[in-house]
């Protein structure tokens, strides 16, 4: 009485890791640029990060065909929003839109593991982390993808605020400066690259702050 299984899957996992860290007035969104399939490398130079709005960027690991489709969908929705409201979407609004978009395909999901990062209405950094079907939460930092199990505990160690029982309530955003946060991200990826075979080649970092958007790259191990 064993169930018959499909001999074809609509999904593939292209690997990769994404990280986002929110600061007091900046947000860092980073991802490696390796795209794999099984034990093969498809390319060493594929961007997993897209800028959805002036102050909002999304990094997604998982099945890159689904990721690309998701990015295009959100970009089109953002254009419609701009036509209707005469302004850019805020990051919390985009966060809700992403969640709704993912849940819309609850029964044939986007195989995409997303972190959304940007500046909120007050100019403070914000990060939203998602599962494949749209469950999301605003946090101060997050990682998704194949290296997330290696990176997340490290970020918890470095960034997690003291016990929530402590009063006054502490903000989730890190007190680190922008350059310190960048160094932290680079450290995370350098470490994850050592032990995760799907993470490596190059690190792409997008920094969003009041001055605008900046992109930085760092070489990673290619083995």
């Amino acid at each position: 009485m064993t169930k018959e299984h499909a001999n074809w899957s609509p999904y593939d996992n292209n690997g990769g890791t994404c990280v986002a860290i929110a600061g007091a007035d900046y947000c860092v969104v980073a991802a490696d640029t390796r795209m794999s399939s099984g034990y093969n490398i498809l390319t060493r130079d594929y961007s997993k990060i897209t800028q959805l709005a002036d102050k909002c960027a999304m990094a997604s690991s998982g099945f890159q065909a689904d990721v690309r489709a998701l990015q295009k969908h959100l970009e089109a929705r953002h254009l419609i929003y701009q036509h209707q409201h005469n302004k850019q979407m805020s990051t919390p609004a985009m966060a809700q839109l992403l969640s709704n978009t993912l849940y819309y395909k609850r029964f044939f999901p986007y195989y995409a593991f997303n972190v959304l990062g940007g500046l909120d209405g007050e100019g403070k950094g914000c990060v939203f982390t998602y599962d494949a079907v749209g469950s999301y939460e605003r946090v101060g930092y997050s990682s998704q993808g194949s290296g997330s199990t290696l990176i997340m505990p490290f970020l918890d160690n470095q960034l997690k605020s003291p016990s929530p029982l402590l009063l006054p309530a502490k903000d989730a955003v890190t007190p680190l400066s922008e350059s310190e946060a960048l160094d932290l991200v680079k450290t995370c990826f350098a470490s994850a690259t050592e032990r995760d075979i799907y993470t490596g080649d190059k690190l792409e970092i997008v920094v969003l702050n009041a001055k605008g958007t900046r992109r930085e790259y760092m070489e990673l191990r290619k083995d």
Binding site: K72, A76, Q82, H83, N86, K87, Q88
Partner: protein, 281 residues
């Protein structure tokens, strides 16, 4: 003017082979306030007269951004114009989504024209009561089209629609041969002159008009009031004296460059402000 017997239905021909409902729809365009468009090889300028009903109310929006490379100015039933603009925006977005490139202007106007034609051949519909001046840029250059309620469309070097548009057309007929090689600033200047012609002596100020530009390297955007007023002042076309069109700009000297006290080129180089969406008015 009244051809009552065959004008009840859009699907009824007159014995002379006319569809009166369609012609009546074109009348609605003529009653709307003026909108003009002109193009050079590299830019298209759209301008419209925006008269508010009263001092207390806001101006009616007659120029819409459709995409970074296309904008539209309307005359007639502005509600119909708004709906068609939404359709055009949707078409541009869907095309970009599928082909990751910009919808060519010529394709968009055909789709618009076909949409208008449908309303001339359904007994349960009425024609759109709006004329559209579609200005845009694509790989084959700068284009200006006029779409009318009948479902026809034509390409123009320069055109004007709405009330007293003939005055603007007369001005542009004299000068259209210079438009192709015109600089961006001169094109805007000609647009303002043409617009002034439709005001029939009334003073042209930035409060009663809207000007929009699209060009190579310049996304479609509406010029802000300060920029427009500065241009009006610079070209001395407030309209108080008789049109000394050729003489006035020469007096300013160097009107080819946006120099002097005013920097219209810098001020309206696309949406310069932070936090202002590209779609902003």
């Amino acid at each position: 003017m009244f051809r009552n017997q065959y004008d009840t239905d859009v699907t009824t021909w007159s014995p002379a082979g006319r569809l009166f409902q369609v012609e009546y729809a074109m009348e609605a365009v003529k009653q709307g306030s003026a909108a003009i468009g002109l193009r050079s090889k590299t830019h298209v300028v759209l301008a419209s007269v925006n008269k508010a009903n009263s001092e207390l109310s806001s101006h009616q929006k007659k120029i819409f951004k459709v995409d970074d490379h296309i904008g539209v100015a309307i005359a007639g039933l502005t509600a119909d114009g708004r709906v068609l603009s939404r359709y055009m925006r949707s078409e541009c977005i869907n095309y970009s989504y599928s082909y990751e490139s910009k919808l060519p202007v010529g394709r968009l106007v055909v789709q618009l024209a076909d949409k208008a034609q449908v309303c001339t051949q359904r007994s349960w519909k009425r024609p759109y009561g709006v004329g559209l001046l579609v200005g845009g840029l694509d790989e084959s250059g700068a284009h200006l089209y006029y779409n009318c309620p009948s479902g026809n469309y034509f390409e123009y070097q320069a055109f004007a629609i709405g009330s007293r548009s003939q005055a603007a057309k007369t001005y542009m007929e004299r000068k259209f041969e210079t438009f192709a090689e015109s600089s961006r600033e001169n094109l805007i200047k000609d647009a303002l002159f043409a617009l002034r012609e439709t005001l029939q002596g009334e003073k042209l100020t930035s409060t009663i008009c809207t000007v929009a530009v699209v060009g190579i390297g310049e996304a479609f955007h509406i010029l802000d009031k300060e920029t427009v007023q500065a241009l009006i002042n610079e070209f001395e076309i407030a309209g108080e004296e008789a049109p000394a069109n050729e003489a006035a700009p020469e007096d300013q000297g160097g009107d080819a460059q946006p120099g002097g006290d005013v920097q219209p080129g810098a001020a309206d180089q696309g949406p310069a402000d932070e936090g202002v969406a590209p779609m902003d008015i």
